[in-house]
Symmetry: D2
Subunit: 161 residues, 4 copies
């Protein structure tokens, strides 16, 4: 329903579908023989077509932007802007993306959240600029990649769904 909108929002915040598909490829290439980039791209598109995923992305990006625009203020602004390790709500919203794809998605998310490969590290670093906040964005990207990897692991794009 909001697929085009979330793709546009990701793009405006510096994330292309291609970046996420590349992450998925790195995550799954050791486990799936004959894995191609195309399969990864298709899996990302499949994940982004889910309503719950779209809601999570739209909400997380809205919070990042409200912090940048000084519409969220006080201690919460500081906590989110500094991307405090103990904040936790960014991961909570991201995990809601993983939940619908089973436990493989959850463990993949923990892995990329810790190592911050590819676009995740780039987004995380860009968010450290004074006028930028990507606290939710990097986790959302990691969760979409983790979910897409799980989608592939579940034996084709249409097995778990």
């Amino acid at each position: 329903m909001y697929y085009d909108l979330v793709v546009k929002q990701f793009k405006e915040r510096g994330v292309e579908i291609e970046d996420i598909a590349n992450l998925v490829y790195e995550l799954q290439k050791a486990y799936v023989s004959y894995l191609t980039y195309e399969v990864c791209h298709e899996a990302v598109v499949g994940v982004l077509n889910k309503r719950e995923v779209q809601h999570a992305i739209m909400t997380g990006i809205a919070i990042d932007m409200a912090v940048e625009n000084d519409e969220i203020r006080g201690p919460l602004k500081e906590i989110i802007n500094r991307d405090e390790g103990l904040y936790g709500i960014d991961e909570i919203i991201a995990l809601s993306i993983c939940n619908v794809y089973g436990t493989i998605a959850l463990t993949n998310f923990g892995y990329v959240d810790k190592l911050k490969p590819g676009i995740i590290g780039k987004v995380d670093k860009a968010g450290k600029r004074l006028d930028k906040c990507n606290t939710f964005l990097d986790d959302l990207v990691g969760a979409v990649a983790a979910a897409a990897a799980s989608r592939i692991a579940h034996g084709g794009n249409n097995k778990i769904d």
Copy 2:
């Protein structure tokens, strides 16, 4: 750390600690003999002193207010403002409050979320006014009550924590 702040924010949005303590009493009275209102009040204060709980409350209320202030726009504003049953992110953030108190908190939350007793129904109804948005608030209140009830069930205020 932010106990005073979340109590103040709840109050400004129409929720008193007493309202939540009353919910807890209703939830637990059938299971705990000699349950008193004071024990329920103390359990609510205990829950509100947890950092993860404070983060969840501050974030949820910030989103409700950003919707009221037209700082969140587009389809997301409509989805949140209408409190769409399929939105889900309000419950996700509320469930992060329950998570730290175990599965009794989760099932209690499901129960109050469905029946909307006491202050939850009041907050839910108030949020239907055109200029108000309590989409996150009612779930946060339900989650704090459910967590406090679980805290009591776990045999005193200091067993699970």
Copy 3:
């Protein structure tokens, strides 16, 4: 993959698909106009066709039976056999069924877990016999019903999947 097996195991433990479909009908009739029993039955079948759901059911029933057969011993046997409110692992496994169906499934589960309507109450009561253990079974049945209700709420059997 194991659809026939879990239906057979449910039957052997006293639960028919029809019982679960009736629960779903009760849960959703207030929200969906023109809801029919057939739609509920179809939703239950859809849920039981998911691999993660099958794994949860097979595991939970195996634990109940291992307790009955004295293959699980010591304090754990006592905890499970008494269906201790603080045990929690029965709900944890049941919640893994709900997870893949989003937050509506989670709150529905909390509701039925607390009220124990229809077959859930029957299974729960049967498990109190000295030679029977249904500690996991009642939660599994509740979770399947909650997940099926959520499947219907998500607008047809093929929207969230």
Copy 4:
């Protein structure tokens, strides 16, 4: 309550508290200056003293043993014995340990579940022997380590609890 029992069960299955404390040290040393092994050991003991954690460990090990003893049979025995990547219930039970320690525990678990450092890899490998099943054990160990690391990150052993 069952602290001594779970320590004994871990030992009988080849896992010492020291092994887990070492994992915690590796997980947290990059984040906490002046981290000592003693602090990690104390955090593991703290985690193992929680009732929900004890229930998860006792249940997981009971399932592993029921598989070894041929008390769980049929397809479920095969699925668990092969530690099938899509089984998921082992991670579900392990994640219930992480839940009470917040999102840092969840992401740490994902990380160790994927990389299998130290004792986790050893347990995982031992479980591949024909007469052994450690499908739940390796995840339980990883979850306890992840939870203990989170406990330390939350600023001392008594902050989140």
